[in-house]
């Protein structure tokens, strides 16, 4: 069931009850959890928070709290599962699902008992499901009508014959309807994609209960940046949502002079080089996927061109290697104007380096862009040092702390870790390309990370893995200059824990809409493989765990499927 009124049908039902929040392991959940928990804390509602990194953990959390909690709020998890079947014994409990994964499982949407409620801001939620609903109703009502007309029929013999004929008809019609339904469902669930981030819903909620604050808007911008960076939303939708958020900012910002230690957020055009404010310009340009692929900075020749380009722009190398904050002021001013020079576009094919993003300022600290905050939180979330069960919570809490206004040291630590992560990613891509590991196999590009690679620990969780895959794809396409490659999707295979390998599949580069067919594909292949060989534990269906022994067979099957 879809919740229409956030305050009356969701928030007010939480008062006086014990709430359990189950949150997935990604930045959007971190932001949503932050907003939601702040609201709950103000209102004195008792809750418990359980971050989970997979479906088994989710089930464990549910069974732990089944007896003591009456309201469950699932954030970015569970919408694609049949919740009623998955959570046993849902009597007297309410489940609210706030998930940006799509497609939605049919049973969740059409839940008759009204215990499972979906929170979303979409007006026309999902046309695929709607038409299915119509078909459902019509046919069912048809069958009921036929049944009624039967009863009214008086004569027995005539009735029996007509009955048999009607039954036949009914059977046939039912079969047709079932087929049509399956077709619709297949079409709907074929591609998996993402809706706008759940934080937007949380922000709307805060506005609906009149507890809006500029901090919530800032956290939502971080989540939106996550959607942009990991290509969960197309660029156009990002721009549209950014405009919406700017309206929120305008509403929240007071007209009078705000004191220095208040958070100020502005929407501006900014250079797209990741973390350049907290790093040096040279490294930042080299390692941002977008600019790296334009310059091909992993090769010697590319690096040479890069130096040449910097020279033409009038930025001395010494300055570029210095920390951005300690750069010469004149140089820094030049940087802001330099990257819109036409010579870049003509000679070096280096364009489109500005992006509209949100910049926050607080106190006398340097400005933080949403990208910086996002990468810091992500690095803390996927911190490889504390890997293993039980430390999911610590990472999640660290990430939550980095978002808050006063915890500067956590944020700085996150920035440091983000730099390490980005460097590791860049080095990995460089290795892939230098060893020519990216190979086309049938209908897709295949990359396998060697087992002893030193950077393996950074890519155990979903977000950085997907980021790596996207970077690799972009780099490979620009490296090889084969036009066909940009139409092929990419499959990346990396070693995971305890003998398993993690396989992620992403859409082709040329495809604008972020629709991913690997979810359904992996699912069908998993059925064909032996039990326990393939674990679909992650909440993103296009990422699976495959046991080392069965990995090659899996890839072969995939190849056969995708010719």
């Amino acid at each position: 069931m879809l919740v229409k009124h956030l305050r009356k049908d969701f928030y007010e039902l939480l008062f006086g009850k014990r709430v359990l929040i189950i949150a997935n392991f990604d930045i959007d959940s971190v932001c949503t959890v932050k907003i939601l928990t702040e609201l709950l804390k103000i209102d004195g509602i008792s809750f418990s928070l359980c971050p989970v990194d997979g479906i088994t953990a989710m089930k464990q959390a549910y069974s732990d709290y089944r007896e003591t909690v009456s309201v469950f709020v699932l954030i970015n998890c569970g919408i694609a599962l049949d919740i009623r079947a998955f959570f046993d014994n849902l009597k007297n409990k309410l489940v609210f699902v706030l998930d940006y994964h799509r497609p939605v499982h049919v049973n969740n949407f059409y839940d008759e008992t009204n215990q499972i409620r979906i929170l979303s801001l979409d007006d026309n939620f999902d046309e695929g499901l709607d038409s299915d609903d119509d078909g459902d109703d019509d046919d069912e009502s048809e069958i009921m009508d036929m049944g009624d007309s039967e009863d009214e029929d008086g004569s027995r013999r005539r009735g029996r014959k007509r009955k048999r004929r009607n039954e036949h008809d009914r059977e046939r019609r039912r079969a047709v309807w079932k087929e049509k339904r399956n077709e619709l469902l297949f079409e709907y669930t074929q591609f998996c994609y993402y809706a706008p981030p759940s934080s937007l819903v949380a922000l709307e909620l805060s506005w609906a209960i009149s507890r809006g604050d500029i901090q919530y808007v800032w956290w939502t911008t971080v989540a939106l940046t996550d959607a942009l960076l990991l290509e969960k939303l197309p660029r156009s939708e990002y721009v549209q949502k950014s405009t919406e958020l700017s309206l929120h900012i305008a509403r929240e910002a007071s007209t009078t002079e705000t004191p220095r230690d208040c958070l100020k957020v502005n929407f501006e055009k900014d250079l797209c080089f990741l973390l350049y404010r907290h790093w040096n310009l040279y490294d930042s340009i080299k390692m941002t996927p977008h600019s790296a692929c334009m310059l091909k900075s992993w090769s010697l020749k590319g690096e040479g061109r890069f130096h040449e380009m910097l020279g033409e722009l009038g930025l001395p190398q010494v300055e570029c290697h210095r920390k951005y904050a300690s750069m010469d002021v004149r140089c820094r001013k030049k940087v802001e104007r330099a990257f819109s020079e036409p010579v870049l576009r003509d000679k070096y094919n280096f364009n489109d380096v500005t992006v509209g993003t949100f910049i926050s300022e607080i106190g006398f600290r340097p400005a933080f862009s949403a990208f910086d905050s996002h990468l810091a939180c992500l690095a803390l979330l996927e911190n490889p040092v504390l890997n293993g069960s039980g430390n999911v919570v610590d990472n999640f809490l660290d990430s939550l702390a980095a978002l808050s206004k006063k915890q500067f040291d956590t944020l700085d630590r996150g920035i440091g870790m983000a730099k390490t992560h980005l460097t590791a990613m860049y080095n990995q891509v460089k290795e892939f390309l230098s060893m020519n590991v990216v190979t086309p196999r049938g209908g897709f590009l295949y990359v396998q990370m060697p087992e002893g690679s030193p950077n393996v620990c950074y890519f155990r969780n979903t977000s950085f893995l997907v980021f790596l895959a996207q970077f690799t794809q972009r780099a490979a396409v620009s490296h090889v200059r084969n036009r066909r490659w940009s139409t092929l999707p990419l499959v990346l295979c990396a070693p995971h824990l305890s003998g398993y390998w993690v396989i992620v599949g992403i859409k082709p580069l040329s495809l604008e809409l972020p629709k991913n067919l690997f979810g359904k594909l992996f699912e069908t292949l998993a059925i064909k493989m032996t039990d326990g060989a393939v674990l679909m534990d992650f909440l993103d269906p296009h990422i699976v765990l495959v046991h080392g022994d069965h990995k090659d067979k899996f890839i072969q099957l995939l190849e056969a499927c995708m010719v």
């Binding site: 007010e12 008062f15 006086g16 103000i42 209102d43 004195g44 209960i209 009149s210 507890r211 604050d213």
Partner: protein, 289 residues
Amino acid sequence: MDISLNGGDDQGGPVDNEEDDDDDEPIVVTSAEVLQRLEHGWMNEKMSPELLPPLEQEKDAMLGQIKVMERNVTTLDKRDVRTDIHKLELERIKFVVVSYMRTRFFKVQRMSFTLYEAEMKRSRNQESILFKEEFTFLKNLVTRTADYFKATLISKMPPVLQKFEIKKFRVLPQFDAFVFFRVLQNQTVQVEVNDEILTIELEEGDLHFMRYEPIAHLLAGGAIHLSTLKANPPSRHHHHPHAANDDDKVNALKIREEQGALSSPQKISHHPQWLRKLEGTGGECPHLI
């Protein structure tokens, strides 16, 4: 709607009965006044170096009140902003009572042998400065501690010394400690400073800083009450001419309150969450005692 101390929105007015020695009929006092008295008694207890007479009735009344409030709070509508404010108020009252009992407890524990001796010597007419429960505790503690020492040390010592001398364990209150206090009624007091006896005029509304000993007797009568330096002045302000005292010789500091210094009404909490919550409902920030 006014927020009353009584927890529930409907309950109002008098809750507590106090026996007056002279009258036969009980005097009815509101619970707000009882809390005020308890708070003053708590401040006095905190600042004073000796154990003060117990506030039996106030304590019992407050404990009863806490129980009533706890019951009422569970029946309140969870969505209302005032529920949380009531809950916090309940916490604050609990804190005051617990802190009062705790301050007394630590004093009793520290000066246990002195108090025990005093209690044994007390005549039947005099009121005890301990609660009944405190006395039981004191007795138990004293006997247990004495037993401990006897068992471990004294029994092992040579016969001549095998006596548990209570005088060795006495801890006396520090009557020479300096305290701040505010004067509630005009008084004169004799203070001995450097072998001279000085007479100091204490005027109503003044804040003084003196040794505890000369003014201890004033505390009992309610003529003064101990406070901290920043405490709020009472609501009435008076102009007093500057007393002609020989300030160098006097060991007392006389601090004159400026006329413009208003006491700030005690808000519930300066925690930003509260302010935001109240902003959201568009209501005023109610002032509670």
